[in-house]
């Protein structure tokens, strides 16, 4: 650990001193290591039926006829439902998270391969699949729009003819920054570098696919839905709006979730079909998609074609960045983003640099592909923003022939400039970038590596070193600016202390492996002095948790974590009044000593939080006007996002004979402010770095010209195994968020956001002898080989 001026204080080790922040083994593990977790597909209910979905084999086709008679005749089939049947109930279309609509089951035509066309409910999952084979659909093929670059051509077939008056495939236009001011800076710049770069379509591919069990009670009209949802409360409200069921009669339960990574934020047709299936049959209905369905039809990520431009002085002062983006949103705009942010937080593409001007114009289009866009730890499009700026900085370094690490160091926003307003309107809360960058360079041995590289180049060996320095923006968000379909992005928290001093804390956010059951107990423990082992964390059940918007965008710590700290302080404030009564002193005479109140100047006179809890619930007088019990609730509205940052350096070796890239080393220094549990942060970073290596080198959802998805299984959609990733090397600095109650920032997505450009920059750096300035991901051996031959084309 390099010591920096803002280095971390010695952290509490919860193994030795179990009261709050620090390394603590996870409370979730005991059930998972025994195979006793409870995921959606583990739910078994009496009389439960199984649902399977018939999907379109074509990307674009009119539905002429659907014959379900043979399927209906199957002895184990209970229901067969088509789009026409749903249309009769007004359920054939549903709203998306971007105020567009999406077909639950296709009625008029299919718009992407894998789209939902009909569903079957049967006695078991085998019979349901059998029955799908018995449904006969007559399609009239239409020309598909598979190439995003041709989607707006005048003769392109119109995909969304369901939208009134729609005569093209335009989805929306969006801009940010000042076009004229940016043009003026570009006009006077010594150096301007332009580079087109594609961030290919990828997929979050959580190990557990999406699914649910819907249980509609015909007697009381109530619906219970176990589902793979990262946002159970938001989903409940949407179901109320879609299905017309009253909200108090809907209970959404997110049980253990086998990874989400943004894939489980949207509402998918399968969930709605299951609810309809349960209403029709009066039985619980389970739907679990298989991997190919997950890859072909659920929320993809990225798919941006970015024309990037960077302007600088000849001695390397970066002046401005400008970009024009073509965004592929698929057949329905299902982007999960705050309503006022159709391009998410892409506006932070100015990165970690102090610029004079910046501008972005974006056009989003419809294509014959699955909907999505915001997923896979993107923090609402910050993956794309960071990739753009960090590739552009390297392109500039190439042009100026300067070291890319030096170029970054010379252009960072300075610590004294925070809070820093970017030219696109974001106010970074805090940052101290240089120490993180220096630490990363020291850990990796940057100067020695450059010498090694120079030496290797003389022998024709290909070695590359790539930097990425990123600033994230997480913790959506202030309710005046940010909402999802009208629901403000605040989060609730309830804390109840039982008479014996044990506690339960209820969250509105939803873990999918991030360790909330452990870390939220630690946050509360730190504030109220009850050991984290005595604090039960409840989440994922809309009947038993306060309302809030769920877990994505690394928002749990910034928003719900703040709520947890503040609710604990609220309870502590009440405890202090009770303590003053018990000790017969005034509140002002009490000191808090993590777990007990002591009378100032009299260390022998004190009461513990456990004593106070018993008094709060028990016999004896309470101070005048105080209610019994010891609990509180809160709804936290953040004043700003948090802006964690990091310095990543990747070292690669490339086989000049095959183009195969080996990631030799990867150093990641992250700063997410106050660290609640370093062990868990470490694991989050390792996972995200693996995503980054996967995206940079292996992963892509690709299509042929007819719109056939070419990456719809793990045979073709490659994700890293233990062999493709190196031993990760990590470090950290601590620059707290000034506006957060415990100074903590989000971190879960930082590594996924920050690592792809480091890997790509390293590969391009290795290929420098071949005069390569850019190559699009994924940098597979064949694509690297083509780059070396000068024949590489964009990813699409």
């Amino acid at each position: 650990m390099t010591v920096t001026e803002n280095a971390a204080p010695d952290l509490v080790n919860n193994d030795e001193h179990p009261l709050g922040h620090g390394r603590m083994l996870r409370k979730e593990d005991p059930r998972f290591i025994r195979g006793l977790g409870k995921y959606c597909d583990d739910v078994q209910l009496r009389g439960m039926l199984h649902l399977a979905i018939l999907r379109s084999p074509m990307a674009h086709a009119r539905i002429v006829n659907i014959d379900t008679s043979a399927a209906e005749a199957h002895p184990k089939v209970k229901a067969v439902v088509t789009g026409a049947a749903l249309a009769d109930k007004g359920l054939a279309w549903m709203p998306t998270l971007s105020n567009d609509v999406q077909a639950v089951l296709a009625t008029d035509k299919v718009r992407f391969q894998g789209q939902e066309v009909a569903f079957v409910v049967a006695e078991d999952r085998y019979a349901a699949r059998d029955a799908l084979e018995l449904i006969d659909v007559d399609y009239e093929p239409l020309e598909a729009v598979a190439d995003v670059r041709t989607a707006l051509a005048p003769d392109a077939p119109v995909i969304r003819d369901d939208l009134e008056g729609k005569e093209n495939n335009h989805c929306f236009d969006w801009e940010t920054g000042d076009a004229a001011a940016t043009q003026a800076v570009f006009d006077r710049a010594d150096v301007v570098v332009k580079q087109e770069m594609v961030y290919p379509r990828v997929h979050p591919a959580p190990m557990e696919t999406c699914g649910c069990v819907a249980d509609f009670d015909r007697v009381d009209g109530g619906l219970t839905l176990w589902s793979t949802s990262q946002a159970p409360h938001a989903h409940r409200t949407l179901y109320a709006l879609v299905a017309g069921l009253p909200e108090h009669k809907i209970r959404v339960i997110s049980p253990d979730i086998g990874g989400g990574f943004g894939n489980k934020v949207p509402i998918y047709p399968g969930y709605v079909c299951s609810i309809v299936g349960s209403m029709l049959t009066g039985k619980p209905v389970k739907w679990m998609e298989d991997r190919s369905e997950n890859l072909i039809s659920t929320g993809f990520a990225r798919d941006y074609v970015m024309q990037g431009e960077i302007a600088a002085t000849k001695d390397g002062k970066i002046l401005a960045i400008r970009t024009d983006v073509l965004a592929d949103h698929g057949a329905f705009n299902g982007t999960a983003a705050p309503v006022k942010y159709p391009a998410g937080f892409f506006g932070v593409f100015t990165g970690s640099y102090d610029l004079e001007a910046a501008y972005c114009h974006m056009t989003a289009v419809y294509t014959n592909k699955a909907p999505g866009g915001v997923a896979y730890a993107c923090s609402f499009r910050i993956t794309e923003a960071v990739y753009l700026v960090e590739r552009l900085v390297d392109c500039l370094a190439y042009e100026l022939d300067v070291d890319p690490a030096d170029l970054r160091l010379n252009n960072f926003i300075k610590p004294e400039q925070f809070p820093y307003a970017t030219k696109t309107g974001w106010v970074y809360d805090s940052g101290n970038y240089e120490p993180a960058m220096r630490q990363s360079m020291e850990l990796v041995g940057y100067a020695d590596l450059r010498r090694e590289q120079a030496d290797k180049r003389t022998r024709g060996e290909l070695m590359g070193i790539g930097c990425s320095f990123f600033t994230e923006a997480v913790g959506a968000g202030p309710r005046k600016d940010m909402d999802i379909l009208g629901l403000g992005m605040a989060d609730g928290c309830e804390l109840r202390v039982h008479p014996t001093g044990k506690a339960v804390v209820r969250l509105s956010v939803q873990s999918q492996g991030q360790g909330h059951e452990t870390t939220f107990a630690q946050i509360v423990a730190e504030e109220i002095g009850i050991p984290p082992g005595d604090i039960e964390v409840v989440h994922g059940d809309t009947d038993n948790t306060p309302f809030g918007l769920g877990t994505y965008g690394s928002r749990s710590t910034p928003v719900s974590g703040a709520a947890a700290a503040l609710v604990a302080r609220k309870v502590r404030d009440k405890a202090k009044i009770i303590a003053s009564g018990m000790l017969e002193v005034s509140v002002a005479d009490l000191d808090w000593d993590k777990g007990s109140f002591r009378v100032k100047g009299d260390p022998t006179s004190s009461v513990t939080i456990q004593d106070i809890a018993m008094r709060a619930h028990g016999a004896g007088d309470l101070p005048e006007g105080l209610e019994g019990g010891l609990e509180a609730q809160i709804c936290y509205n953040p004043s700003n996002l948090t802006y964690p940052f990091g310095a990543y350096i990747c070292v690669v070796d490339i086989d000049p004979g095959t183009g195969a890239v080996k990631v030799r080393r990867f150093v990641a220094v992250d700063d997410c402010g106050t660290r609640i549990n370093p062990m868990i942060i470490e694991g989050q970073v390792h996972g995200g770095l693996t995503d980054g290596v996967g995206m940079a080198l292996m992963e892509m959802i690709s299509f042929d010209p007819d719109g056939n998805c070419l990456s719809s299984s793990f045979m073709d959609y490659l994700i890293p195994t233990a062999l493709e990733v190196p031993h990760w090397e990590t470090g950290f600095t601590v620059t707290p968020s000034p506006h957060h109650p415990i100074g903590a920032k989000g971190v879960g997505e930082s590594a996924t956001v920050g690592s792809p450009p480091a890997v790509v920059n390293a590969v391009i750096d290795a290929l420098r002898p071949y005069g390569v300035r850019h190559a699009d991901m994924p940098l597979t051996p064949s694509r690297v080989w083509e780059a070396m031959q000068g024949t590489l084309k964009p990813s699409f």
Partner: protein, 160 residues
């Protein structure tokens, strides 16, 4: 569509089961749906992910790529049968202590593959561990803590 059922008899986690099953029933679904052993999970449909790994007569198999009838007469151990008398298997304990899991979905298969690996090679190097776990995908951990856990569990074996 009518399929003749066959009788299978097998030992699972130390107990004997005998059932009439369709020949096409996958072992993983037999374990999950018939026996209620839902600790073994399904992560893909092409035999790549290894989430469904169990031990068949002591060797790891992907139970999504075996019919239940093929396990007739054999001994199956799932993650639920690893702990003995309430004592965690050293691999389970090491996964907890080294933070080798997050969402927990790959964990059962990963643990079973690790047990199999250590049975075959009690002192694997880091590279041998990575290679031995190549058939098991994880989306959360980035593998490093898993490698460390398996390494530690191997060390644990030394002291016994």
């Amino acid at each position: 569509m009518t399929t003749t059922k066959q009788t299978v008899t097998m030992t699972v986690d130390g107990a004997q089961y005998s059932d009439d099953v369709e020949p096409r029933l996958l072992l993983v679904q037999y374990l999950r749906e018939r026996l209620g052993k839902t600790g073994t999970t399904v992560g893909c449909d092409t035999t790549n992910c290894g989430a469904c790994t169990v031990l068949l007569d002591g060797e790891s198999v992907k139970s999504c790529t075996m019919f239940a009838v093929q396990a007739d007469g054999h001994e199956v151990v799932t993650v639920e049968g690893l702990a003995q008398n309430g004592e965690l298997h050293p691999v389970q304990q090491a996964f907890h202590e080294h933070a080798a899991l997050q969402c927990g979905y790959c964990t059962s298969g990963m643990i079973m593959q690790s047990v199999s690996l250590l049975n075959e090679n009690p002192h694997p190097s880091q590279e041998e561990i990575r290679s031995g776990l190549e058939g098991n995908l994880c989306r959360c951990t980035g593998y490093q803590s898993i490698v460390e856990a398996v390494s530690a569990a191997a060390g644990e074996g030394d002291t016994q």
